[in-house]
């Protein structure tokens, strides 16, 4: 027995409310983030991820306040992402009570931000989020590219090579979201999950597309992920965290029960 695989409920938060879209468009309201975070904490979630999808500046203050409230009540690790652009943004979220901060688009525009923030705050709190999408095969081999703007804008960057570079710059963890799958409930894109977990030394969280408990199992056993992240299956009461853990444990996966 050793380190447990982690189950991480994700709160996608817009203007102070938890929402979850299908492929980032069709938004459903799932409730108050503080209440939901407390519920997952009580259920035995291993961590909580809070992704701020608020566009406006005013909304950002709400986010800081919400993170503070969650951190006062929830004594498991909390990752905050969405709209993080600078060392100052990272400091603000860490001071609000986040344990880790997830950097996405800003790392693409300025990879040095990853190095600088890892040196300043430690790799353990720097998560690089990668939104990957399958593109045309090269020489008969599958290829995934990084997309921004909710999966609409290609960057031309190879997702696997990018993950390796981010780890070299000091990222402590990769949060990998398949943009082909996010919100679809068809399961993780296991090809890119496996390719990235094999390529980097740091832990990888698989995200995007969970619709059944078998998907969580596949992310670990087939994708090789160290943690699995899901939103809607937990928010809308289809499954609880203990149900997910019991299911994974029954399939030989080590979890914290």
């Amino acid at each position: 027995m050793g380190l447990a695989k982690r189950i991480i409920p994700c709160l996608d938060v817009e203007n102070g409310r938890v929402v979850k879209g299908v492929n980032f468009v069709d938004i459903r309201d799932a409730g108050d983030p503080v209440e939901i975070a407390i519920r997952y904490n009580e259920q035995g979630a291993d961590e909580i991820t809070f992704l701020d999808i608020t566009a406006s500046h005013e909304g950002r203050d709400t986010t800081v306040h919400t993170v503070e409230k969650i951190a006062e009540e929830v004594f498991i690790p909390l990752t905050v992402g969405g709209g993080i652009r600078s060392v100052q943004d990272i400091r603000t979220m860490l001071n609000a009570g986040a344990d880790k901060v997830s950097i996405n688009t800003a790392a693409i525009h300025n990879p040095e931000l990853v190095r600088e923030s890892a040196e300043r705050f430690g790799s353990q709190c720097i998560v690089v989020a990668i939104d990957a999408k399958r593109v045309a095969d090269v020489d008969g081999k599958p290829r995934w590219e990084i997309f921004t703007h909710g999966g609409r804008k290609p960057t031309g960057i190879d997702a696997v090579a990018w993950a390796v570079r981010m780890a070299e710059l000091g990222a402590g963890e990769i949060l990998l979201t398949s943009m082909d799958r996010d919100g679809t409930k068809n399961g993780f894109e296991l090809g890119v999950t496996r390719a990235i977990t094999d390529a980097v030394e740091i832990p990888v969280i698989a995200s995007g597309g969970v619709g059944t408990l078998d998907h969580l199992v596949d992310g670990i056993l087939l994708g090789g992920a160290d943690a699995v992240l899901a939103a809607s299956i937990f928010h809308f009461g289809e499954f609880t965290v203990p149900e997910a853990k019991a299911y994974m444990a029954a399939r030989g996966i080590e979890v914290r029960l």
Binding site: M1, G2, L3, A4, K5, R6, N41, G44, D46, A71, E72, F75, I76, P77, L94, N95, G97, D99, E119, R120, F121, G122, S123, Q124, C125, G172, E173, E201, I202, P203, V204, D226, A227, R256
Partner: protein, 216 residues
């Protein structure tokens, strides 16, 4: 009665979660500070730490927190809890950042997990060691009261403690190697994991610390 708990703040990262977990665990007053008077007059002291050891050691020395910690440890009635990099800083030396001399309060090395790191079956293990691992308690200690052996605590680190005096080991954990998850000596208890992030088990350990008289 927990009395006043001082969390030593040497400027490396956010200590709110430690402070808020201590308050949640029942501390009557928690002060986050590097002020000598605050730490000297506190009933209990927490020595946390995040980030790279070189920067931590530089700030600990610059703010004279090393002397404050030594004074706290010398007062056998003052329980001291060191957490994560705070525990590592107690050792003689760390391999991190190309080799950094530490406080040498407890003889021993802080070692890198190694790359590649593999488990007993040859499977590759990721570094940092991040997540919930089983903590094997060694001997009885008041801080383990009410916490079953092999309870999982939350870890996040790339370097681990290897104390010379094996009699000081209060818990061990396995991640490719067996290493020291907790050390205890007199009024000092040091943990590699994060009790403030370890849900009910972590809060219980903090409550035990608040009720501890510093004797083993």
């Amino acid at each position: 009665m927990s009395g006043v708990v001082a969390v030593i703040d040497y400027g490396m990262g956010n200590l709110h979660s430690v402070a808020s977990a201590l308050a949640h665990a029942g501390a009557s007053q928690v002060l986050v500070s590097h002020d000598a008077e605050v730490i000297r007059s506190a009933d209990r002291v927490v020595f946390p730490g995040v980030g790279a050891i070189r920067d931590c050691m530089a700030e600990i020395r610059r703010l004279k927190c090393d002397q404050l910690l030594a004074d706290a440890l010398a007062d056998r009635h003052k329980p001291v809890l060191a957490i994560c990099v705070g525990m590592q800083a107690l050792m003689s030396h760390s391999e991190e950042n190309g080799g950094v001399p530490c406080l040498d309060i407890i003889p021993g090395e802080v070692r890198y997990f190694g790359n590649p790191l593999v488990d007993g079956d040859g499977n590759r293990l990721k570094v940092p060691h991040m997540g919930w691992n089983e903590v094997r308690q060694v001997g009885d200690h008041p801080l383990w009261q009410g916490i079953p052996d092999l309870t999982r605590f939350y870890f996040v680190h790339s370097f681990y403690v290897d104390a010379v005096e094996r009699g000081l080991v209060a818990a061990s954990v396995n991640y490719g190697v067996n290493f020291d998850a907790a050390l205890a000596r007199d009024n000092l208890f040091a943990v590699q994991f994060h009790p403030e992030k370890s849900h009910t088990a972590g809060l219980r350990l903090l409550r035990n610390f608040l009720e501890w008289n510093g004797q083993c």
